[in-house]
Symmetry: C2
Subunit: 412 residues, 2 copies
């Protein structure tokens, strides 16, 4: 029940984490600067940095020009002190990517195997093989991997067992994590892909330095990841942020979730293309891959096609409504628009979205928010998945926690 950290040694862990975070996100700094950032004494910074140096997580990197005093020796994260793996389990492709400690990409790999992706056993095999493949391609031993994360297109319940509820790939209560942790020699973290992506943008992308934000993803389905107080907002059972199934119309269009009137039924890629087809009285919009269809839609609208323009206009209104509701409820500092469809539609509709959102939202929370496009593209989910492991690593102050300890940590 009580979550305090009672023993004095925990202070050190927290302070290691503070110094490590400052260096990781604040960039290179001297011990003195670190002491100011973290508000620790210089004595403590010296001690903590000594540990980090000894562990190889941090390196000295020359010294700054001095103006007549001892020059500050700069400290920097040792980017090659360890590696992370990010896995994007998509609806019809698995993307596996290897990153260095600073989450710079090293090697990426794609596994395309639409037919068997619905079978967990196949997915697990593909992932284990893919992990070995990227490590080999980078000529790195798997022991150097600090941890891996997986983003999945569905809900993950962290409380009971760690399982998955992902209708779009036909999964329900699949113990993916347990199986993978048995087969891989490093800790693995599992979460919803939209949440993973939101964390990538928050830590390294369009949300850097912002403590409270929401990333909304437009694609075949809709997703969102909400960050509050610099951390993913999960709710009681880690299914918070299901923005796509916010009801926006009573007794509205049928949604694939089984209910009706969901935002996704008006703003999902399929919904937009269907609407276009209906307005244009032609099925041409539906006779192509969704991504091509959306591209087609955007260029048709900019070319003056009135039906396409109306579809975009309606999409803008629904998107603005959905964003305004997020603003009124979560009062974030930033909204980040992403997802493959969001990236394509964004440039065309963002100004109007901003204007309408101002109309729809209350003034005080609206005036605290900015609405921007995401920074990352196709590899956002894989990167975000890697940040799941990174977060744990940083919170532990750079001490790689053993599997046993992690399991213990989950117990309340």
């Amino acid at each position: 029940m009580v979550t305090t950290k009672p023993t004095a040694r925990d202070l050190r862990v927290a302070n290691r984490a503070g110094v490590l975070r400052a260096l990781y996100f604040g960039g290179d700094a001297s011990r003195l600067e670190l002491s100011q950032i973290t508000s620790l004494s210089t004595a403590t910074v010296t001690n903590v940095v000594a540990e980090l140096l000894a562990d190889g997580l941090v390196r000295e990197a020359g010294s700054e020009e001095s103006q007549g005093g001892r020059p500050r020796t700069m400290l920097t994260i040792a980017a090659d002190a360890g590696y992370f793996i990010g896995i994007d389990l998509g609806e019809n492709v698995i993307r596996i990517e290897l990153f260095d400690l600073l989450l710079h990409p090293i090697v990426a790999q794609q596994v395309v195997d639409v037919d068997n992706l619905h079978q967990p056993q196949t997915v697990i095999e593909r992932i284990v093989a893919g992990v070995a493949a990227v490590a080999q391609a980078a000529q790195l031993p798997l022991e150097g991997v600090i941890g891996a994360g997986i983003g999945v297109p569905g809900m993950v319940d962290h409380a009971t067992d760690v399982t998955v509820f992902a209708p779009s790939i036909g999964w329900r209560n699949v113990p993916l994590l347990a199986e993978l942790e048995r087969q891989l020699p490093f800790p693995v973290f599992l979460d919803n892909g939209a949440k993973a992506m939101a964390q990538a943008e928050a830590l390294l992308g369009a949300g850097q330095g912002v403590a409270d934000l929401a990333a909304v993803l437009l694609g075949t389905g809709l997703g969102a990841g909400i960050i509050t107080g610099n951390a993913l907002f999960r709710g009681a059972t880690n299914s918070a942020g299901e923005w796509g199934h916010m009801k926006v119309v009573l007794d509205g269009r049928q949604c694939r979730c089984g209910s009706a009137g969901c935002l996704e039924a008006y703003l999902g890629a399929h919904a937009l293309l269907e609407r276009w087809a209906a307005l244009a009285a032609a099925d041409v919009a539906l006779n192509q891959a969704e991504e091509d269809g959306i591209n087609h839609l955007v260029s048709a609208a900019s070319a003056g096609d009135p039906a396409a323009q109306q579809v975009l206009d309606e999409a803008t209104r629904y998107l603005s409504l959905g964003i305004a509701n997020l603003i009124n409820l979560f009062n974030p500092q930033r909204i980040i628009l992403g997802g493959w469809a969001g990236l394509r539609l964004g440039p065309a509709i963002l100004p109007d979205v901003r204007r309408l959102t101002r109309e729809y939202a209350l003034e005080p929370p609206f005036s605290a928010v900015t609405i921007d496009l995401c920074h990352f593209g196709q590899d956002a989910v894989a990167l975000g998945a890697a940040t799941l492991a990174l977060e744990e690593f940083l919170t532990a102050g750079g001490k790689q926690r053993s599997l046993a300890m992690r399991t213990g940590g989950l117990v309340k």
Copy 2:
């Protein structure tokens, strides 16, 4: 930026807080039990309890029957070790209430003065006088008051200056808190009334022991307070939780907030009575006080009036939609329905609300939630306001923080 608590003395504060909280919310316990609950060693519990005893916050309260060993001496919160004041600044009444340390009510007072409530200066005078009055009625010196809280019908920005944005009483950027703290000899906390009430229900009412919940309030306006991780969810500028202005209809009914299609425009007391009048083709529903009107509406519906039944039916659908959206977005463990109109409508519509909410929300988050009526009635906001001060008190481990320290604490 870094929010760690570096020095060893902070450990003690955190552990004092842990023991105090365990005793406060877990009820009387022995030192041994406390050690188990807090997972501190018995040695530390002994030390911490000794401090709390010396400070008069805790008392020994006899010993339990033993089965052949040293009996455990029970510890209990000293209810008279200090007092809290809760102030409900309503739209046309001020309610001031004095509580003991356990938030049991001692004296209450109402200040009714509709005409002048729009003038901050008058409100401040009334509050200061009312505070003195309740203290005198209870024959207690103001020095015994640990802190006071104020719930206001509007938004409070904690970041800039602590000001108020409350259109319903015509306030905008009123520095209420600064003025009151100058005139009162104890710390004062200010927040939105719905947030205050949510915290009352969370700590002491229908949400006890629940870490993630949302309290929704139906009244003249709509409000909500959201608790996540046992703490009020505030967002970036403390205006999170504006549930009443969630858009539920594009281009819908005009709302008093200036926008259109807000939930409040369909579910606020005034909206319901207007709808009734329109359906019944009679203005009778509007020619009475709102509270009487809602009472009338509920009894007419239960008596079989078809227009009234339809109004309730529509209200049920919009309320369910609003709750379902909260469930999908926040994934709470409990929804608590309150507010004066919520209390009246609740018994009549709650079963249908539960049924419809299941239809509207996604299955995983819905299956994690229960929907209940609130516990507290008229004095919920005053009690909640008092909990604002209580929370600070407990977090500080029962050390009453000075004004200077509080201000310092707000600085990042």
